[in-house]
Subunit: 291 residues, 3 copies
């Protein structure tokens, strides 16, 4: 059963194959290829990109889509997460897409839910389809991964995007660094000074300052953060000619990224969002194999 919980469980070959399928999707293949299959989107955390990108991918594949609204569900009467997922399985549908605030929520489902589960983000742990769309964007740009240098800048400690990306990018031969305020650093990764990173990297990947996840306030004001770690137009000028800017979004304009940088020539931010639809088509197709 082709669930997808963590990218770390896929081999390099499997990942490259998923990216190949995603490229075919981008070229217009596989429209309505999963007609008749039913999928439910269970999002227990606010989401725009991941949720509606999955929704768009499902529609492109011709699937029948059930969108769950947790706020108006029996969870208001105390129903548990497991029982909610088990209910959808019992409807006889073909797959569920799940986002949940809890790290590794899927461990309580494994072996008990017998339809494919696609992880659309668990707590601060994993976000496999986000990493896939990042990889697709990098591969489109450079044609390969080997030897490329990336710095992931900002709230690395609490970012599922950072954790998932660094693990898989290292396996693909990339050199990964982190940068940003000391309080956000994860000591297991190589640190690089931000202005040094701007000059040396092939990819600068910015992370959002996640105001809503931090109980305590950040030690820097937003203005200080922007001055020290924000990607300004001046810093963009210091980047290598071939280097690109990425961000999983949503972004805080004027904090980690200057307003005028969001859609600048080096930015691939909206390209990433576009690729998100195609990698999600690819993982949905994989989940439907043999059903």
């Amino acid at each position: 059963m082709n669930s997808l919980f963590q990218l770390s469980s896929l081999s390099v070959d499997e990942i490259q194959h998923l990216l190949d399928v995603a490229e075919q999707c981008r070229q217009g293949r596989f429209i309505d290829s999963e007609k008749g299959k039913i999928v439910a989107n269970l999002f227990f955390e606010p989401s725009t990109r991941t949720q509606y990108s999955f929704n768009t991918a499902e529609e492109k594949l011709g699937m029948k889509v059930i969108n769950f609204n947790a706020q108006a569900s029996s969870m208001q009467k105390g129903e548990t997460f497991y029982d909610t997922v088990k209910t959808f399985e019992s409807f006889g549908i073909d797959a569920v897409v799940i986002r949940n605030r809890q790290d590794e929520y899927y461990k309580q489902l494994q072996g008990r839910i017998n339809i494919p589960i696609l992880n659309a983000g668990d707590g601060k742990k994993d976000h496999p389809t986000q990493s896939l769309l990042d990889l697709m964007t990098i591969r489109q740009e450079f044609g390969h991964f080997d030897g490329l240098k990336i710095a992931i800048v900002g709230d690395v400690k609490y970012s599922r995007v950072a954790h998932t990306n660094i693990e898989v990018m290292q396996r693909l031969g990339m050199q990964c660094f982190i940068s940003g305020p000391e309080e956000y650093r994860d000591p297991q990764y190589d640190y690089i000074d931000f202005d040094q990173a701007v000059k040396d990297m092939d990819v600068i990947m910015l992370l959002r300052v996640q105001h809503e996840r931090h109980e305590q306030a950040m030690s820097l004001t937003q203005e200080e953060y922007h001055a020290r770690y924000g990607l300004t137009l001046e810093r963009v000028k210091a980047m290598k000619d071939t280097a690109i800017i990425m961000h999983p979004a949503p972004f805080n304009r004027g904090v980690e990224i200057a307003d005028e940088v969001v859609e600048c020539r080096k930015s691939r931010i909206f390209k990433q969002i576009n690729n998100g639809v195609f990698v999600r088509m690819a993982v949905l197709k994989r989940a439907m194999e043999g059903r």
Copy 2:
């Protein structure tokens, strides 16, 4: 016009026929058989099973589905329930599915709304599709209804499931009992001691303790309820070999049902949920007749 408000308005033959159609649906018939028809789901109370089970049934039939979100609607500007339903009728759609907190809400619609209305639960009165899925589950198990003994245990007084079920089950020849705390009993039904029921019944149907419906607190703590009326593994062992456990869900694990009983060999709880999709396909097909 084939609305469905109350099961009590259907003859025994009509009910058996609906169950026959539901069985055909379970065997994979009628997929996309209502292509082009448009249905709207109007849920004014939180729901998981009923709402998304109708949604799944509609998708399986190939219908076009409009899901109404009351929280972001003109009801926020004071629009009435009747005017909301009349608006959907005016769109020219083919049917509406409605859940509403008010007992017999449909009386204000009858004769004024000229498309089929499927009742997905009204206050503490009726829940016809829930009863149909219960009947389908019992018929699958025993092949007939006549002479079977059922005890419905718990919050009978405020349960639309209990009222609808007892009326129709008695017509089908079943012997119905109620059990549970004195404050929840309805004097019009035969009472049976819970431990006696466990030994004698063919079906033990548990009801959820509806914390959110009771203005006053229950006189028992959750632990006391579980000790006296909870279906524990010990009590399951005292049940007849052929007897089964049912629950309309959502359930409170550790209150009316022990955690380890939910998915035990005798439990038909998730089977009921599965059947829910098929009985809803059947009532939707009935509603579409002649349209």
Copy 3:
């Protein structure tokens, strides 16, 4: 690119053509004619009629529909309106339908979003599809616009319906008046006494008292409003034989309109709602041209 922001940007010929297409839609044409196209509904204000009428129109055209729920989106994390729309464009969809509280919200999108945008209402400025359905209803009734007299009664100052309607109706040769309490009048329009209007007009269009938009309380009580400006059964009797009653809804029964007038012989209120689906099909078809 066939966006629709304001009706004032369409010529009289273009408007008549849209109404012709809408009439064909009413006669059952164009079902599933836009199969495969993807549209997203982005409603940032509560809505029943406009939102679900667009949704129904999209389903009738066979489009794939993405319904955005702002309350459970990344806007909760501070994402801006522009970035939200840009995200949907980046998914590669074919059009967006937008309602937003801000007057002329679309000015920040023009030239930056490269898919058609259909305005489903901006602040107190415009509501082009509402005007189109009003025009369709009037044309069905009288066969023409030229020389018809309409009075728009009530909260004209803050009504996008009134502003949009008067501009286009005057271009189509209608004589437009306003009536209602002094505090709601817009001095640029011709005022007429309400009881005079009732006797003279071909169309009485009532507006909803928008309790939720007014910071300060209305100077009249609801009873006083009803006595002076409410369309009562007595006033209906004073109307011309051929005259009709319109209201964009939602309405306040017993305030601007008597309960028993809502569905009386002269009322076209639910006819308007029905026509809403067809004009939205027409503007969606126009938006899809050349895609």
